[in-house]
Symmetry: C2
Subunit: 137 residues, 2 copies
DNA sequence: CAACAGATGTTAGAAAAAGTAACATCAAAT
DNA sequence: ATTTGATGTTACTTTTTCTAACATCTGTTG
């Protein structure tokens, strides 16, 4: 399993997310209603959040605290996503043209996943994203 | 917050632990009853497990699968703990006699925690401990 | 072999946590 | 002065988790 997948595993009930983010249940549900997050659900319809989503909520909170409204946040998150995809693409090409001489398909896929993940971990300067990366091991 | 603390944060409800470990609720509660784990509780008395405890449960499961009974597991976990403490102690002394010239008390405590944590992350060869370290980031 | 102890399954009933939905509030924008 | 965006609050329902008791199964021991 890639690190990306690990960070996308639905693990946390809303109560824990509330304590980790200092958001209210109402806020979290409202942000979901407005498509800022998409928590998974248990069979019984309870929300389950991943690391990625908690990270995202921390970003959202930070922006809220700075007075950005939901529309603004939506834009920022979208832009960020694009940027990361670009960046990952660039790095993969870089990788491709430098030290990739004799790797098997399997190794290549592994590397790709790693790159994608690394990309995700960088570029978290201005926002509060990555808070959780520091939080957990 | 030290990594140790991060790994000791009560985060997971029993349902998630069940899915991560493939143990039954009955087993998990029974192991708690027999002091193999000490999950935290919510205000409302629901169990909350940390990374450390999930790791520990994976070790326990591995030993159970190998036919070790609870008494045996208890011994192994105790031994392991001792060994880690020894090791951490040794490493701290090492640290102490090499590059520790002018650290404040606070810095020392910080370092101590770090050492303890590093020790915890190593030496996970024979057992299945550390499974979670690979699982999450 | 019979009895026992260890480990786990199962069930019942109670309590906590989480869900939705509707209505309330309040500040900012129009 | 309204309207709208964001959040609080409350009521009621469903899911999840708890404890406790009893059932079952297996390996050990007298």
């Amino acid at each position: 399993m890639s690190d990306n997948n690990r960070r996308s595993m639905p693990l946390f009930p809303i109560s824990i997310v509330i304590s980790l983010t200092d958001l209210t249940a109402r806020q979290i549900r409202y942000y979901e209603e407005n498509d800022l997050i998409q928590p998974a659900r248990t069979k019984g319809n309870r929300r389950l959040f991943s690391f990625h989503e908690v990270d995202r909520l921390l970003e959202i909170k930070d922006l809220i605290d700075k007075g950005v409204n939901l529309a603004g946040i939506k834009q920022m998150l979208a832009m960020k996503q694009e940027h990361l995809e670009e960046k990952a693409q660039a790095e993969i090409q870089q990788e491709d043209t430098t030290y990739n001489e004799d790797l098997s398909d399997k190794e290549l896929r592994q590397l790709l996943k790693q790159e994608l993940f690394d990309a995700g971990r960088l570029n978290k300067s201005s926002l509060r994203q990555g808070e959780l990366s520091r939080f957990f091991h």
